[in-house]
């Protein structure tokens, strides 16, 4: 039965892949490719692979496949993460959004928060992590992030990246027309008579100034 080669289990942090013990890697790869092409997975859902289940190289290959479809694949035991998340939780204001992910790289903790909806006026996201919004950020909405901000949609609200001093943080949006844009300790505001572009743009700090430039994606 091809269905049983890869089992998908819903866990608190996302999805956990479980492989049949006698399956070959080719079969696993094919099975996952098929599921992905059918749109089985929701974009932005973290997918976990237990490090003991697969050889490291194979797991890395899968990770790349998932990345192609906009999914984040992690080769680690999700059990380890529960504690990490619990420690961070009290600092979060918005609890209605997707659970943040935690990536451990040595001692540095990097996180990403995924928001799968449009942020409307009056709604606010405040996090130490980076933020990915799949939707618009409407006027009156606010994002304050310790890391970078990526908006797959229109950005019309107030966005603040690197809010805790990270000068390398960037802000990307399909249409970058915010009321106010802040990175670290710098502020820029939309020109009163703006020339609008249809292209995605990125804002970052260059030579002590906020610079906005078009990008391809």
């Amino acid at each position: 039965m091809s269905e049983d080669i890869v089992k998908i289990k819903g866990i608190k942090q996302g999805l956990l892949l479980i492989f049949a013990s006698d399956s070959k890697f080719d079969e696993i790869e094919e099975n996952i490719q098929k599921k992905l092409s059918l749109g089985f997975f929701t974009r932005g859902t973290p997918v976990y692979i237990h490090p003991e289940d697969l050889p490291k190289d194979d797991a890395e290959t899968l990770k790349k496949i998932f990345a192609k479809y906009g999914l984040i694949c992690k080769i680690e035991n999700p059990e380890n993460e529960i504690r990490e998340i619990k420690q961070e939780e009290p600092q979060r204001e918005e609890v209605s959004f997707a659970k943040p992910e935690v990536k451990v790289e040595g001692e540095k903790v990097e996180e990403m928060m995924v928001v799968n909806k449009t942020l409307r006026g009056g709604q606010e996201i405040r996090t130490k992590a980076s933020v990915l919004v799949c939707g618009n950020v409407n006027p009156g909405a606010q994002i304050i992030a310790g890391g970078s901000i990526d908006i797959r949609g229109k950005c019309l609200g107030v966005v603040h990246a690197g809010a805790f001093g990270n000068q390398d943080a960037v802000i990307i949006a399909d249409r970058l027309l915010p009321t106010q844009i802040r990175i670290a300790n710098l502020v820029a505001r939309a020109p009163d008579e703006g020339d609008e572009t249809e292209k995605p743009e990125r804002a970052s700090i260059k030579d002590g100034q906020i610079v906005i430039e078009p990008i391809e994606r």
Partner: protein, 264 residues
């Protein structure tokens, strides 16, 4: 019967929530539906005036939720439409007199008796709003082509989402086609851009709305009035019909000539 409970809300005041409630209510009754209108704007009640029923009120919403009378006693039957009933609210009490649980219980009780229950929501996002939306299946957000009204509508949609109300419809009221055409007023594309929810009504600004309000006879169904026709279209969309939106632009001399030459 199992009524659909619809709350009509806006956030901003003065965009025409109560007028819309009255017109949809009357429109549904004209289509032979049994309708109850509940005014939850306690302390500032208006809905009875628009329906011309002020002098028939005996009991109000607060009497019902506090258990002094059964709701049937407080219902006021419309003078013209047999199947239209109003549950007015109190003029003397304030919003804290009715809590969300009490209104939900009342709605559940009334559900079996009606086809539609429309709840007229007060302006703002405070307790009155929370109470009004508590029992609703569907929310209709009323807005105007004005940035402040659209901004407030956006906020309200967010609040409705937070309260797990996912079935949200939009009515854009008081459109002035001439101003839209000159680019002095937001058009539907601008509004949809921000709000991105299903629109079930585009109602033009119409003097007849004011005159009919003063008489206590909602304008809906009045074929001489553009707003009356627009409101009737809203009603038909609520009833599940697929009605195209009217062209609100004035039939100018220039356009008539264009049409004569087959250019439009």
């Amino acid at each position: 019967m199992r009524a659909e409970i619809i709350v009509i809300t806006s956030g901003k005041g003065g965009v025409g929530k109560t007028t819309t409630t009255a017109n949809i209510g009357v429109g549904l009754a004209m289509n032979d539906k049994k309708v109850a209108l509940i005014d939850t704007d306690t302390g500032l009640r208006n809905l009875d005036l628009l329906l011309g029923l002020e002098n028939r009120i005996m009991y109000d919403l607060v009497d019902v939720t506090e258990g002094r009378v059964p709701y049937k006693k407080a219902l006021v039957k419309h003078k013209k439409f047999e199947k239209l009933f109003l549950l007015p609210t109190s003029q003397v009490k304030d919003k804290s007199s009715v809590n969300p649980e009490a209104l939900m219980k009342l709605c559940d009780e009334m559900r079996e008796e009606f086809d539609y229950i429309l709840i007229d929501c007060p302006a703002g996002i405070e307790q009155g709003f929370q109470t009004a939306i508590a029992g609703a299946d569907t929310a209709i957000v009323v807005t105007m082509p004005e940035i402040s009204a659209v901004r407030d509508a956006d906020k309200i949609i967010g609040e409705l989402g937070r309260a797990d109300k996912e079935n949200i419809k939009l009515i854009v009221n008081r459109i002035r086609p001439q101003m839209v055409e000159q680019g002095d007023m937001l058009d539907m594309d601008d509004i949809n851009d921000i709000l991105s929810i299903t629109c079930i009504g585009q109602v033009p600004d119409d003097e007849k709305v004011v005159t009919s309000t003063n008489r206590g006879e909602p304008v809906v169904g009045n074929e001489d009035s553009l707003a009356g026709r627009a409101y009737m279209n809203v009603v038909r969309r609520i009833l599940g019909e697929d009605v195209p939106f009217m062209d609100l632009r004035k039939d100018s001399f220039f356009r008539r000539i264009k049409r004569a030459f087959g250019m439009n």
